[in-house]
Every structure is written in structure tokens, then in C-alpha cells.
Point group: C2
């Protein structure tokens, strides 16, 4: 592997939708610029938090083009491009590379369960072959809580061995520290992003590349401070403050909860909209969330 | 609900691919015509067995148009049209209706797990509203082994109540007789297709509409005989013969196994190809399968 991967706090940006449930590109671009101006190193449009799979390939391509035309440097973008259909994955991946994106976040084809490592290997190999562009930098997206299937350590090793310049990193959203620690131990130099804000400091201590986590939509400046100063004596306290956020929405649907907080802090109810199958929080959940989040220091350090 | 639903043996047709992994439409059309000529009442192109989600929306639309142009009556077609993205589901569903398809088989949006009934309700309601065509006949596709999420009995009742002329049936691929029996008991007159060949007779005894099962690709003439004569004294024996097929590929990936048998009986190795993430059986699994299947009466009654 090249050892030359993206690093930092990458935000899996929320996707605002208009009242027809289409992507609200101006509001999306505004958030994206805001996040980059206030500390994020980069963005992962069309991750899980972004409701990526609730939008068509065309909707994703069109929005990405408009985002870049709106002034975002594509070098700091790592859009999600892995789909169930090989043809869709190839199309979105090729499109992202052509736009100059610094990387792509690659979900395994997630419809069939119990698929073999050989089948997942072929999905990646066919995609790389068909895209046929040396500029492609692929970050595997490991998220068993949603995809159910995932990238095993043996499969990752095979992919790194066969595509050392292309398969350069992973986002681990397993929520399982043992898995992430296994990655850090076995693949030093691989671009290992934690998908959990809870593991931000530990991942950096272990040599990881950074984090791609949902709450970075709200607190990326604070996460950036921890990223830049993870060896500081205060870093443990900062991590503890970050960790206070998760329990405010435990038992609630996380993406609606984060959109609720976005609507609240940006004073913009347009953020409350979601595409089915996701739906906004109930009024009572929303009230509970806002009550619990109010006293948190970490929220006071965010940048709205 | 209308009570006027499709009935019979519907085959979730295998999708052959060429050596570039594109849909091999001539071979697909040939199989489709063959199945209808030898007893199948209808076809469900782009179900799970068809590797539907491994193909793009455009690939699915183009192939469906060519199938109909090739001489298949669209009234006997129930293509799969439910996708993760609302926009894709709307597009494929509207396309199928415009082509004159007798129904559509509707997967829930399957990326997010733990979604609410309200979110799934809105997915269906938005699709029906946006398609905006009274000719739409929707069959819910319940397949928790792959989709993980599914259609609860309470949600089905709400959908039938609100869309009585549109939501007219279900394919139950839970593999759980209790669930299917619950459907038969609670929703008499609803078009209930079993997704398992093992429940074919019991489903008919309970008032179900028929079956959509993978092995019908191989033995639909035999299943048709059972469908037409399920009250016959011999029907128990026929069901027992059908049931012998499943254990021949237990522990193997089912779709590759059925493609292996298709290649064998049609003497056509082109059927062995699959799109990643699915891969052909190992040589040893293939040999085991062909050895076990050889003595089965039910295979001798198939039509090649």
C-alpha cells in the first residue's frame, strides 16, 4: 500500500431535502462549505448518515457535480460509491474519479447476505478494472450494523496485496473496538478511519488516519481540536466530552436525531426532512433530545 | 382489497449474463418463453433469484422492454421494482405499469435496518402517489433472510386499508410457516404467494394465490400439476417429491446451485455465470449437487 492516504476529520455530510424530497443542493453546499471552513479536513458526501442509498445514481452524480462547481475542492471529497449493482458501483466510482475526488468510500454490495470473500473480492476487482483509472483511491466501508456483510481481515489483506495503490484505506463503522484494533495492528500505514466518534483518540493513538463519524456534522471543530492535539494532556477530557453526545439519542433513530439537532442549532426546520424509509423523530423524542443535549460543553464548542 | 389478484405458479426467472456480465437477453427471453409454454402462469423477472439488485435500473428497464417486445404478454409479468432509493422504486414501478405488467413485486427499501413501520408505509405511499396510475397492482415482497427488514402484519393491514385496489398481495419468502399462516388467516382474499416450494400445497389449502419460488426455474411443470390438482389424493406425494430438491443443495449458495442445475439440464454452460458478489459453486459442490439430484423423480418430470 502507498501509505499516502487522506487523513483527518472527514464529515459524512447530512443531505437536506426540499419539500418534494429532492436533494436541496444549495443548503447542502452551504453546510459543506461551512464544515470545511470551520475545521473539517474533508467530506464524505453520500455515506450512511447522508441517506446515500435513498437517492438514485443520477441524483448522486448531479449533486456531486454541483457541489464541486459550487467551490468545493474535489481533492478533499470521498463520496460513497459502493452499491448493490456492479454497474452502479462502476458508474459512480468512475464519475467520482473523473471529478477529481481524493477518494471513494466503498460499501460492499449489500443485498445478499452470507456472500463469500471471493464474491466480494470480485466486486472490488471488477470495479477497479472497469473504472480503469490510476487515480482511483478506494476506502472500504465496513458497516455491518446496516450492510450486515462486511470486509474480513483476510479479504482486506488480499485486496491490499493485489491493489496496493488503489485500496488504500477503510472506514470501520462496526462499532467494535476489537475489529478496529485488529485493523490497526495488522495493517500499519493503511488509511484507517474510525466510524465512531467514541474511538477518535484511540484510533489516532493506534496510528489511524482519522475519523468519519455522523456527529461531526455538529461538532467537527471540536473533533478537529482533538485530532490536532491528541497527545495533549487535555485530550482525554475532550474525548470524554465528545462521548457525552451519544447517550442523548440512545434508543432513537440516529440520523433523524442528528438532523433534529442540525435543525435546532442552525435554526432551520428544513433539516428535519428525511427521505423514507427514515422519518423525523417523534415530538417527544425531539424534546428529550434537546433537553439532554443542552448542557453539553461539546455542543457549546461547535460553530453555529 | 379487490380480491382480483394474479394466481398461479410464477417463476422468479434466473438472469443469464454474457461473458462481460451483461444481461444475456436472448437467452433470458428463450427461458422465459419456455417456462410459459411448459406450464408457468407467469414470471417475476428481477426477483432475488434473478440477481435483481446486481443490475442497474437502466439494465432492468431495457431488458424488460426487450422481453415484452420478444413476445411475452406483459399481463403475466410481475417484475421486481422495490429498491433502496425512493426515486429508483418510483421509476421502475412506473415503467413496469407503463409496459402493461400485471403486477410488481415490491421489496422494502433494504439498506437501513430497524426502520419503523411508519417509514416503510411512507415508502409505499410515496411510490403509489408518484406513480399515479390506477393500473398499478403491488405485491409486497417479504424476504427477511436477505432484506432483514420486512412487512409486519399491522403494516400490511394499514396498506390494504389505505390502498385496497393497489396493494393486492404479497410474496412471503420468510421461510416461516407461522408467518405465512398468519397472513392467510388475517387477510383472506389477499394475493398470498408463498416464496417457498415447500409450502406450495399448504398455501393453496389455506386459500393462497400460488407460489413464486426459485426452483420453479427447474420444475415449474411439476409445480403446475400440483397447483392444478392440489385436492387430488396424489398431491401429498407430489409435494413430498418437490421437497426432495432442497436438501440437494443445503449448505451451498442457492442461486449458484440453481444456475448449476440449469446449466446441467439445458446442457448450456453459459448459465454458470453470475454477477459478483455471487460466484459459481466450487467444483466439489457442483459434483455433490449433480450426484444428489440425479435420482429425483421431480427432476425427471421437468421439461427439458
Amino acid at each position: 500500500m502507498s501509505g499516502n492516504t487522506l487523513r483527518g476529520i472527514f464529515v459524512p455530510t447530512l443531505t437536506p431535502v426540499d419539500d418534494n424530497l429532492a436533494i436541496d443542493v444549495p443548503r447542502w453546499a452551504e453546510l459543506s462549505l461551512h464544515l470545511l471552513e470551520t475545521g473539517a479536513h474533508g467530506l464524505c458526501p453520500f455515506g450512511t448518515t447522508s441517506e446515500a442509498n435513498s437517492f438514485s445514481v443520477e441524483e448522486r452524480e448531479d449533486a456531486l457535480v454541483q457541489l464541486i462547481e459550487g467551490g468545493i475542492d474535489p481533492a478533499v471529497l470521498m463520496p460513497g460509491t459502493g452499491c448493490c449493482a456492479l454497474s452502479d458501483s462502476v458508474r459512480l466510482t468512475a464519475h467520482a474519479v473523473k471529478q477529481g475526488c481524493g477518494g471513494v468510500l466503498f460499501l460492499p454490495p449489500f443485498y445478499y447476505k452470507g456472500v463469500s470473500d471471493e464474491g466480494l473480492y470480485r466486486s472490488v476487482a471488477e470495479t477497479i478494472d472497469r473504472v480503469g483509472d490510476d487515480r482511483l483511491r478506494m476506502y472500504l466501508y465496513h458497516i455491518p450494523p446496516q450492510a450486515v456483510i462486511g470486509w474480513s481481515l483476510d479479504l482486506i489483506e488480499r485486496l491490499i496485496t493485489d491493489f496496493p495503490e488503489t485500496v488504500v484505506g477503510i472506514k470501520d463503522s462496526s462499532g467494535d473496538w476489537d475489529n478496529q484494533n485488529g485493523l490497526l495492528t495488522r495493517f500499519p500505514g493503511f488509511g484507517i478511519f474510525t466510524g465512531s466518534e467514541l474511538f477518535l483518540r484511540k484510533n489516532l493513538q493506534g496510528g489511524g488516519a482519522g475519523s468519519i463519524n455522523a456527529v461531526a456534522n455538529l461538532i467537527s471543530p471540536f473533533e478537529r481540536k482533538l485530532f490536532d492535539n491528541w497527545q495533549s494532556p487535555e485530550a482525554d477530557e475532550w474525548q470524554a466530552q465528545i462521548n457525552q453526545l451519544r447517550p442523548t439519542y440512545t434508543g432513537m433513530a440516529p440520523i433523524p436525531a442528528i438532523k433534529q439537532l442540525m435543525a435546532h442549532y442552525h435554526n432551520d426546520p428544513a433539516w428535519l426532512r428525511l427521505r423514507p424509509p427514515l422519518v423525523p423523530l417523534s415530538e417527544s423524542d425531539a424534546a428529550t433530545l434537546l433537553f439532554k443535549v443542552k448542557p453539553l460543553t461539546v455542543m457549546a464548542n461547535a460553530s453555529w
